[in-house]
């Protein structure tokens, strides 16, 4: 009798365990995964839309508050920034950061900034910036930015920029507004406005762009310190 009772208890225990363990395991598997981001399931990988070129650890950081429809910004980019990229950014001496500061007087500046932000998401900010400034005359009159820019990127790549832009419009606009707020805090009142940070100190350069040779002499001085 005693051995029968023990066998019954053992059997019941085994039955209970064999039911309970799979049930618990199944329940764990059915538990929904925690959401990756509170915003959306397709949140951008670069939520701050950093539009920068070069090594963030470079000894000098150059921030440019710019407006893609601004002729002075284009002039500064063509005559100075391109050379800065070649001579200082690529060798790792300067980290170049673009801050969006679209001016109200330029009706298509925000549209251009949104496209640049979308391109930055795919690591194509530099290419988009060059294309926007190089061909500013082609799009700034009528605002047909996407039509003009599409010619300078592979179709599949440009489609990604457009899709991303349409799906993340609010995040992109927020990023532009963050840059503008930063500029307003620093009393930026014209574009381009340049800030140079080196050895923990940030200096504002005279607004309106700077001749490359003067920038070069200042960078060389900072690098010698």
């Amino acid at each position: 009798m005693k051995s029968l009772a023990v066998r019954h208890i053992a059997f019941l225990t085994l039955a209970a365990v064999s039911v309970a363990v799979p049930a618990a395991f199944a329940k764990q598997q059915a538990k929904p995964a925690a959401p990756a981001a509170a915003k959306s399931s397709t949140a951008p990988a670069n939520p701050n839309f950093v539009k920068a070129i070069g090594n963030p650890s470079a000894p000098i950081t150059m921030e440019v508050f710019g407006d893609f429809q601004c002729p002075a910004c284009r002039g500064f980019f063509e005559t100075s920034v391109k050379q800065v990229i070649d001579d200082y950014v690529i060798p790792g001496k300067v980290y170049l950061v673009h801050r969006d500061f679209p001016l109200d007087m330029h009706p298509y500046a925000r549209q251009a900034a949104r496209l640049a932000n979308a391109a930055a998401e795919y690591g194509k900010f530099e290419a988009m910036e060059r294309a926007l400034y190089d061909h500013q005359d082609d799009w700034s009159a009528k605002g047909n930015i996407e039509e003009v820019m599409a010619a300078y990127f592979p179709a599949s790549e440009f489609k990604k920029f457009q899709t991303f832009q349409s799906h993340h419009m609010s995040e992109i606009n927020a990023s532009i507004e963050r840059d503008r707020a930063m500029g307003n805090q620093r009393n930026v009142n014209q574009t381009p406005t340049v800030y140079i940070t080196a050895r923990g100190k940030t200096e504002a350069l005279p607004g309106g762009g700077v001749d490359y040779k003067l920038l070069k002499s200042y960078f060389d001085y900072l690098l010698r310190q």
Binding site: P206, G208, V210, L214
Partner: protein
């Protein structure tokens, strides 16, 4: 036996007020120039004795008037010249030279500013640091400084002439 000049009906009496006005004018002008020099060495919250010339060169270059070599030279020496002129004006030493050079300098500044305004070049003045935009008010202010400088210059020459007349 030495004689001293006694003011008579035929010799001019040297009034005190022109000298007082001259002193006020030259000291005011001198302090303004000292401040202009200070603003080129101290900005963005700190002193820039080692790199002031880069920022001032960028401000001068924005006028698009001079070749780069001249810009660099001017950027290095003009703040020092302003400080020296300011000190001379305040102290009254070498007044005719200091006031003349100050007047000439202001004339050049006003010419450059006028040209920039006519060409609608949107730049910073560079007069008292990097932040002041160039406007018609900047021009009017510097024009009034030129009037003061010319008055001090003319006054300095007249006073020297009068001193020469009294002592002869």
């Amino acid at each position: 036996m030495a004689t001293t000049a006694i003011p008579t009906e035929t010799t001019p009496r040297t009034a005190a007020w022109p000298r007082a006005l001259m002193a006020i004018g030259r000291v005011a002008l001198g302090l303004i120039f000292l401040y202009a020099a200070y603003a080129k060495f101290h900005f963005n919250g700190g002193w820039h004795f080692g790199d002031y010339q880069f920022f001032f060169a960028m401000a001068i270059d924005s006028y698009n008037m001079l070749p780069l070599n001249a810009v660099v030279l001017l950027a290095r020496f003009l703040p020092i010249l302003e400080a020296v002129l300011g000190a001379l004006l305040v102290s009254g030493l070498g007044l005719r030279w200091a006031a003349s050079i100050t007047s000439a300098l202001l004339l050049v500044f006003i010419g450059a500013m006028t040209r920039a305004l006519i060409l609608h070049i949107q730049i910073k003045c560079g007069c008292f640091g990097n932040d002041e935009p160039l406007t018609i008010w900047t021009l009017l202010r510097d024009s009034s400084l030129l009037v003061l400088a010319l008055a001090v210059t003319i006054g300095a020459f007249l006073l020297k002439k009068r001193q020469g007349t009294v002592s002869s």
